[in-house]
Subunit: 552 residues, 2 copies
C-alpha cells in the first residue's frame, strides 16, 4: 500500500492555511544552508550531486522522447554539458492524456498530498538545487540556495494551500430538501466531483527558474491537472531536477509519472508558441518578457493564461529619518543579483530641490552622491561583491547597459570585477545614469541599470511613478517619506495603479524581496502581470465541478 | 447618516455562506406569488406598476444620455412602447469612472451591504418584475415570477456570498515578524486593500434577462466594480427596473448612482461589440449565442470574460422503474417555456431494442409513443398549456422548427394554440422529430424542438452524448437507468465531458431547473459555457489586492 502523503503533511498544510489567512511571517523550511537544519553532509553531498549531472544525459524516461538536446553554459564560466530528452509533442501529450485518466480521479487529498511530498523532497535537495540555480541563472550561492530552494518551496506550499482551500470548499455530497408545504419535501441527493482542466503548461524564465515556476506547477498538480514544465533554454537543470523528483513521487503514489513532464528545447525555436496553442493545454503559467506574455494573453485563448512579465519599478524619495539606512538599502537593492530581478528598482525620483532628513535638508546632488557612494561601497571588495552581485546571466544585459549610457549623464559607471573562484564569470557592478528631468525611463532596462530622475516635487514624482506603473507596469514601488500626507498620497497612487508599495525600507528587508504567505507578488492589475502570487484567483479556475443529482 | 446595509443583511449573508458551503436547499425568498409572503395588495400593485411603464419614457437620469430608444414588443402581443435612454459611450464611461473613484474605496462591507439591499428591493417588486419578464421573454406568468424574481434574486445573493467569502479572506492588516536568531526579529507592518478591476459589462439575453445577468452584475458590485448592464433589445424592461433600483440604493448609501448604468440599444447595431472592446471594460458577463460568446472570448482579451453560450442537451434512456414518471417528467421538460431554456433537452437517445422498466420490456416505438402521448397530453388544454408553454420569444424559433422538420420523421408536430387572454400571442406546442439512427443533432435547435435518436445500446448512447457535450457543449445531461454499471458509466462520462448529470428525474423536479446555492449552472469546462454559476472562480478574479508594507 502506498504512503498516505496527505496525512503525512496535514499539519504543514493546516499551518500554511493559517498563514495565508493571517499573512504574517511563516515558513516550513530553513532558509539558511545550515548543517543543523540540513545535515552535516548536505552541503558536500549536494555539490557532488550537482557535479554528477554535468556532462551527462539527464534521465527522465518520459513519454515521447526522440533524442537529446541542451546547451546550458554557467554564467560563472563552464558549459554544463547536460543533455536532456528532446520530445515529440504529439507523443508526449498522448502519454500525458493517458497518465491524466487515473490522476484526475485521484481527488484533492491525493493531489495535495503528492504535491506536498514533492516539495518536501525538493527541500531535501536544497544544496544540489542551489548549485543548479547558481550555475544556470548566475545568482550568487546564498541567493541561489534561498530563492531557488526554501523560498521557492514556500511559494509552492502557498499555492498548494490555496488550491486545497478552494477544493475543500466544494462538498462531495449534499442532500437538497425543499419544503412543499403540507406535502413531503422534494429530496435530491447530489454529488460534486472536482474536475481538472487538462494540461497545464508552465513556462520558466532564466533568472528564477524555480521560484517563478513553482506556484503554477504546484497549483496545477494540487487541482488534479497534468503539467508540462518548459524551462528557459539557459536554465533547464533546476526544473529538470524538479520534474525528476515530481515523477518519482507520483510513481511512488501509484500514478503514471507522465503526469509531469519536461519539455526542454533549444533557444530560438518556436516550441513555446506551438505548445501554448495546443488545444489540450488549458492552463499556462508564464514568466518572461512583456512581448511574449502579451502574445500569450492575446493568442492562447483556449487556455487560462497567468503571466508575470516585465515592469519598470520605481523608488520615490521624499524625506527620511534614516538617511544612511535609506541609501544603504537602496544600494543593496540595486546591486542584489546585478539587478536581474523583476522587482529591482529602475527609476529613482528625487525632487530637484532636495529632501528633508533627520540631519536637515539634503540637496538633490548630495542624495545622488550618497547613493552612488553606497553602491560603490557595497561593490568595492570583489570577494564580497560577487556574493551580492552574482554573475550576468546573458549578453543582452551588456548591450542594454551600453544603450542606458546614452540616456543621460553617467553618475556611476559599471565596472567589471574578477570573481575569485570563477575567473570566466561576467561580474558587473551597477550602472547609475541621470535621466532627463521629469522623464522616467519607460522602457524596462533589465539588469544592473538604474536611472535617477529629478522632479519638481514629490507630487510630481508620485504622478510620474503612477503613470509609469499604469502604462508599463511594475512589480514594486518603493518610497521614502516622513510626511503623513505624502504617505497617504503614495498609498492612494499605489492602490489606484494597483502596485505593491514598500515604505521606508531602511533595514535589511529589501523592496526586491517578496515573502510567500504574506506578500502578494504582482497584483495582476497593472501591465507587469495579469496574476498575483498567490491568491484565490490564481487557483480557483484550475478546476471545475461536475455535479450529479438524483431523487433521494 | 446613511443606513448600514451590511449590518441589516448580515444574517442573510451568513446563512447564504452556510448554504454555498453545504449546497443543500435554501432560499431567502418566497418563490410563490402569495399574498401571505408579499402582501395582499402586492399582485395588483405590481401589475399597475408594470402598466405604468408602458408607452412612457423610462427615467434613469444617468450619465451620457443623448436621446431615447426602445422597441420592445411583448411575445403576448402588444408593443410595450417604452423609451429608454440612448447613451453616448464616452460620456457614460467618463461618468462611471468618476462614480467609481469613491465607490472603489468603499470596501467590501459597503459593497456587500449595498448589493444585498438592491436584491431585497428587487424582491419587494417581484410582481412588477414578473409582468416585465413575462412581456419581454414570453415566459408564462408563474415562471416569470419565479425565474425572473426570487430565483434570480437567489442567484444574486449566491454571487454576493461568494464575493464576500473571497474578499473577507484577505486581511486588512498583518504584522510580519521574522525571527533572526539571537537578534531582534525583522518586523514589517502590512496592509492589504481590495482593489476592483474597473467597469464590468453585463450582457443580458432575451429569455432570462434577470436570472442570467444577476450573478455577474452582483458579483461585480460586491467586489467594488462599476457595472454597465446591456440588455438584449427584446428584453430591456426587467434590467431597466433592476438598474433603477440599484441606482436608488447606491445613491441612498451616499455614492454616485453612475456606479450602475443601463446601455439599451437597437437590434442590429454593433454597440455590444464596441463596448466589449473598450479598454475600461475589465470584466464581461455574457449570456447568448455561441458565435457571440466565442467572439468575446477570443477578442475581448483586455477583459476577463465569463460566458454562457448555447449547447446541445441530452437525455439518455436506458431503463426505469417508473416509466410513467419518466415520460411525464420528460414531457414537461420539453414543454416548459416552449423549450426556450438553455437547459431544455434536445436529443433523446433510446436503444433501438427498447428498454427495461418495472412493467417489463418496452420497445423503442412504445417508449417514443409514450413520450409523444405525454407531450400531447400536457399541451392538450390550451388554457392550461399556455401556463406551461408561455409564448414564442421570436420568429427565429419558427424558422428553426421548419428546418427541424427536414431532419427526419415528425413524431409529434407542433401546433399553434390560442391564448385565452392574449389572442396575439404566438403559442406553439413542442415538435418531436426522429433523427437518423446513431446521429445526434449536433446543431443547437433552441426552441420547442427535440429529436429522438435510436442507438445500438446504452453504451452507444453514452458515447454519442459524451462526444456531443465535448464538441457542442451542454448545460444539462439527463439519464434514466436502474443499472449500477450504467450509472457508473454515466457518471464517468459526465465528469469526463464535465457536464451536470441528472439521474432518474421522474417527479416534479425537472432537468431544466438549476437551484441556486446547490446546483452549479454550467461547468465552465465544455463549450456551452466558460464559467459556472456560481463558484469561486466566478468571483475571485473580479478584484485584486494592493499591498503596502513598512517597517513596524
Amino acid at each position: 500500500m502506498s504512503i498516505n502523503f496527505f496525512d503525512c503533511h496535514r499539519a504543514m498544510l493546516d499551518r500554511a492555511r493559517q498563514a495565508i489567512a493571517e499573512r504574517g511571517y511563516w515558513s516550513p523550511f530553513c532558509e539558511t544552508p545550515s548543517a543543523s537544519a540540513y545535515g552535516e553532509t548536505a552541503a558536500a553531498n549536494g555539490k557532488a550531486a550537482f557535479e554528477a549531472h554535468l556532462n551527462r544525459v539527464f534521465e527522465l524516461d518520459q513519454a515521447g522522447t526522440i533524442g537529446l538536446l541542451g546547451n546550458e553554459i554557467s554564467p560563472y564560466g563552464p558549459a554544463l554539458g547536460i543533455r536532456y530528452p528532446k520530445v515529440d509533442i504529439d507523443q508526449l501529450i498522448r502519454g500525458m492524456n493517458t497518465a491524466g485518466l487515473k490522476w484526475k480521479k485521484a481527488g484533492p487529498q491525493i493531489w495535495t498530498g503528492v504535491a506536498l511530498e514533492i516539495v518536501k523532497r525538493l527541500n531535501e535537495r536544497c544544496f544540489e538545487m542551489a548549485h543548479a540555480v547558481m550555475h544556470t541563472t548566475g545568482q550568487p550561492f546564498m541567493m541561489a540556495f534561498q530563492a531557488g530552494g526554501p523560498h521557492a518551496q514556500d511559494r509552492a506550499v502557498e499555492a498548494i494551500a490555496y488550491a486545497w482551500e478552494e477544493t475543500r470548499r466544494v462538498p462531495a455530497q449534499a442532500l437538497w430538501e425543499k419544503p412543499q408545504g403540507k406535502h413531503d419535501p422534494l429530496r435530491m441527493q447530489k454529488s460534486y466531483r472536482i474536475t481538472p482542466r487538462g494540461i497545464g503548461l508552465v513556462i520558466g524564465c532564466c533568472t528564477f527558474p524555480t521560484w517563478n515556476s513553482y506556484p503554477g506547477l504546484f497549483a496545477n498538480l494540487a487541482t488534479g491537472n497534468t503539467a508540462i514544465v518548459k524551462p528557459h533554454p539557459h536554465a533547464i537543470l533546476p526544473l529538470a531536477i524538479t520534474v525528476q523528483i515530481a515523477r518519482t513521487v507520483i510513481a511512488e503514489a501509484g500514478y503514471d509519472p507522465n503526469v509531469v513532464t519536461l519539455v526542454a528545447h533549444e533557444a530560438g525555436d518556436d516550441l513555446a508558441a506551438e505548445l501554448s496553442l495546443r488545444p489540450e493545454v488549458k492552463l499556462i503559467d508564464f514568466t518572461g518578457s512583456a512581448a511574449n506574455g502579451n502574445w500569450l494573453e492575446s493568442n492562447a485563448t483556449q487556455a487560462q493564461v497567468f503571466t508575470e512579465k516585465s515592469g519598470v519599478n520605481q523608488i520615490i524619495i521624499d524625506s527620511t529619518d534614516d538617511f544612511k539606512g535609506m541609501v544603504n538599502n537602496i544600494a543593496v537593492s540595486l546591486a542584489l543579483y546585478s539587478g536581474q530581478m523583476c522587482t529591482t528598482p529602475q527609476n529613482i525620483f528625487i525632487p530637484r530641490e532636495g529632501i528633508e532628513s533627520a540631519e536637515g535638508h539634503v540637496s538633490f546632488d548630495d542624495v545622488v552622491a550618497a547613493i552612488v557612494k553606497a553602491v560603490a561601497k557595497v561593490t568595492s571588495d570583489p570577494a564580497k561583491a560577487v556574493e551580492l552581485l552574482g554573475a550576468i546571466q546573458n549578453d543582452a544585459i551588456i548591450n542594454r547597459m551600453a544603450a542606458a549610457r546614452e540616456i543621460g549623464q553617467v553618475l556611476l559607471d559599471s565596472k567589471a570585477l574578477e570573481h575569485p573562484q570563477f575567473p570566466a564569470a561576467k561580474v558587473l557592478t551597477p550602472l547609475l545614469v541621470k535621466a532627463p528631468d521629469n522623464k522616467p525611463v519607460t522602457e524596462e532596462f533589465f539588469g544592473p541599470i538604474s536611472f535617477v530622475i529629478a522632479t519638481a516635487d514629490t507630487a510630481e514624482s508620485i504622478a510620474l511613478a503612477r503613470k509609469s506603473v499604469q502604462e508599463q507596469g511594475a512589480l514594486s514601488l518603493s518610497a521614502y517619506t516622513c510626511r503623513a500626507d505624502v504617505k497617504e498620497a503614495l498609498c492612494e497612487a499605489a492602490a489606484d495603479a494597483c502596485v505593491a508599495l514598500s515604505l521606508n525600507m531602511t533595514g535589511s528587508v529589501l523592496v526586491n524581496q517578496s515573502a510567500a504567505f504574506s506578500d502578494y507578488h504582482g497584483t495582476g492589475a497593472n501591465p507587469a502581470a495579469n496574476a498575483a502570487l498567490t491568491d484565490s484567483a490564481f487557483v480557483s479556475g484550475r478546476f471545475r465541478v461536475a455535479q450529479t443529482r438524483e431523487p433521494a
